[in-house]
């Protein structure tokens, strides 16, 4: 028989150092076994094949001056960024009067500043709502004019980036609370409310956005009392909001369903009312579960605003078509498209990065590391 074992505590020590150089890293990540090595070589070969010609076209042989003759001379071997240099104001601001274009510029800068500020969590206070109202009012005053000696610019002349920004921001800002109400309504104990919410979501989801926009712009006026008109911009805005909210409501509902029932019971047992429970316990948890999906819907909504061209509004993509209407430059549509795509990409990529950041930020402390 052995003697009773003595318990000897082992001192805690730091984990092994993760020192590693370039070569071990490459070996482990790119050349680990023949499959991995083969994949690495194929990818490198593809890059070697594609990148140099692309670089030649986009940079080396490209014409950056707004010089039509030079662009035509260089032919297909070089890009003509001149089209952007020549037309950028038309692309960015559409048919807004040329001499007044400082107004949409200032309006957009204000709006972007507000959006950036709203991303920062310590600013999520009551005054932020006031800031939104103020900035939106300033946006419309600047764009429309008619006060402070600003000339009137009718909404049909609004276009380009300000239109894209305004449509997407406003429809998202209005769709978000609406979608929360609809998602809550779908779980309501009152059959009437539940039915309305289900019908709304299913109807809107079952119809292409183009149809919704057509209806908003052409059918809606038929239902209005005679002589009463609502600006087409507002009708379109309502259409976008309803469409986005339907999708968003399903996303939010997913978050609500993922919340354990015990959370609501605990809140109820403390005497919290339905709305207190919803506001303090349910939504903060449900929404942070679905941040990526919410942002996905936002990004989709942002890009969907390009569909307003079908009801003769010239958002960023529509304004590009206007710019390419100039027969001298029509040939260089690809460069124009790339420019517009780049503007969209910058915005969407920013949203995507923000989504990842805020998700991590909101979960500080609430998950075990």
């Amino acid at each position: 028989m052995s003697a009773a074992a003595v318990f000897a505590p082992i001192q805690s020590r730091p984990p092994p150092m993760a020192v590693e150089g370039v070569w071990p890293w490459l070996r482990r990540n790119l050349f680990d076994g023949w499959r991995n090595t083969l994949a690495t070589i194929v990818v490198l070969a593809l890059l070697a094949y594609c990148l140099p010609p692309l670089f030649e076209w986009a940079v080396w042989n490209a014409v950056a001056r707004p010089d039509n003759a030079a662009c035509r001379a260089v032919g297909p071997i070089g890009a003509c960024w001149g089209v952007v240099a020549e037309k950028y104001r038309l692309i960015l601001f559409g048919r807004y009067p040329y001499s007044e274009q400082w107004r949409p510029l200032v309006a957009c800068l204000l709006m972007i500043a507000l959006i950036v500020a709203s991303c920062y969590r310590p600013f999520w206070r009551r005054w932020l709502i006031g800031a939104w109202i103020a900035v939106l009012a300033a946006f419309f005053v600047l764009m429309y004019g008619d006060v402070f000696g600003l000339s009137v610019v009718e909404t049909e002349r609004w276009g380009g980036f300000p239109l894209t920004l305004m449509l997407s921001t406003l429809s998202i800002v209005m769709a978000f609370p609406l979608s929360i109400l609809v998602a809550l309504g779908r779980r309501s104990h009152m059959p009437f409310i539940r039915t309305i919410c289900v019908v709304y979501v299913e109807l809107i989801r079952g119809v292409p956005l183009i149809s919704v926009l057509f209806m908003a712009s052409f059918m809606f006026p038929l239902f209005m009392p005679h002589g009463m008109t609502i600006d087409v911009l507002i009708r379109i805005l309502v259409g976008f909001t309803l469409f986005t909210a339907a999708y968003l409501a399903e996303v939010v509902r997913g978050g609500l369903q993922a919340l354990p029932k015990g959370q609501i019971e605990a809140a109820q047992s403390l005497g919290l009312t339905y709305w207190q429970t919803t506001r303090k316990i349910v939504l903060p948890q449900a929404l942070r579960l679905v941040v990526p999906a919410i942002m996905n819907t936002f990004i989709g909504a942002f890009k969907d605003t390009s569909l307003v061209t079908i009801v003769s509004m010239y958002d960023l993509t529509g304004a590009l078509q206007l710019a390419l209407g100039d027969s001298n430059w029509r040939k260089f549509f690809l460069e124009g498209q790339l420019f517009v795509a780049a503007v969209y990409f910058v915005c969407c990529f920013a949203m995507s990065r923000y989504s990842r950041w805020i998700e991590r930020h909101l979960n500080v402390g609430t998950r075990r590391q």
């Binding site: 354990p260 015990g262 959370q263 019971e265 605990a266 809140a267 109820q268 047992s269 403390l270 005497g271 919290l272 009312t273 207190q276 303090k280 316990i281 903060p284 948890q285 942070r288 402390g365 609430t366 998950r367 075990r368």
Partner: protein, 248 residues
């Protein structure tokens, strides 16, 4: 002298989940300050019974009066009753997105309309009572199970309830942590609060309870003093149950 009115009174209470008859003709009255332990096999309706008291479940037949107010669909009455009834759950159900302190101040501030300062003072008192004040700034998931359950007890106490309901408060805990929670509960029992506790901790029942209730198939099979309950159970069914849970 006239006996004080019971603080909780069930009279022929019946409840169904769909077709399933989960509570059958429940008659039970609980005196102020009384400590009751409820036990019985799984699925016998223990949780449902105590959840009826703060209306997390609705009964369909019979009368249930809590602290002088009959439970009906009247939302205001329900909210008032919930303010005077604290509940502790098997799974703790702390709010993971709030710190321990925020978990405790939530109800005093929003239900009790206290200022943040007063609510925090109250919260710290309760945390001290369950001996966990130093964890106030942490988030629930950063605590051990036993600590979380003690926070949950403190949270329920923050509105100074007259009645405390416990639904198997120790069965999700590792054995090492069970005692720290039972100690807190025993301490609480000494202070004269009305307690209803679903538990299979028979040691706790023996030392703390005024009355033990045994349920099976949605019925109250037996109620008895702990001494009698364990030594001379009245019914065959109780004896059978006790032999199973006390066998080891």
């Amino acid at each position: 002298m006239q006996a004080q009115a019971p603080i909780i009174e069930f009279a022929k209470v019946n409840k169904w989940f769909g077709e399933f008859h989960v509570l059958r003709d429940i008659d039970l009255s609980v005196a102020r300050g009384e400590r009751i332990v409820i036990c019985g096999p799984s699925g016998s309706g223990k949780s449902t019974l105590i959840r009826c008291i703060n209306r997390l479940e609705e009964h369909q037949e019979g009368r249930l009066v809590v602290d002088g107010v009959e439970l009906t669909d009247d939302l205001k009455a329900i909210e008032a009753i919930r303010r005077s009834v604290g509940m502790v759950f098997q799974q703790f159900n702390l709010f993971p997105h709030l710190t321990v302190l925020e978990n405790l101040t939530l109800a005093p501030m929003w239900v009790g309309r206290m200022s943040q300062k007063d609510a925090e003072e109250r919260a710290l008192q309760q945390l001290t009572r369950v001996q966990i004040a130093e964890q106030a700034k942490k988030y629930p998931l950063q605590l051990s199970g036993g600590q979380q359950q003690r926070v949950a007890i403190a949270r329920a106490l923050c509105l100074t309830p007259k009645i405390m309901l416990f639904d198997e408060p120790t069965s999700a805990l590792d054995p090492e942590m069970i005692n720290e929670v039972l100690d807190v509960m025993t301490e609480l029992a000494k202070q004269g609060i009305t307690m209803l506790c679903v538990t299979h901790e028979m040691g706790f029942a023996r030392s703390v309870a005024d009355r033990v209730i045994f349920m099976d198939h949605g019925q109250i099979v037996e109620e008895n003093s702990p001494a009698e309950f364990f030594s001379h159970p009245k019914s065959e069914r109780t004896r059978d149950f006790l032999s199973k849970i006390l066998a080891h």
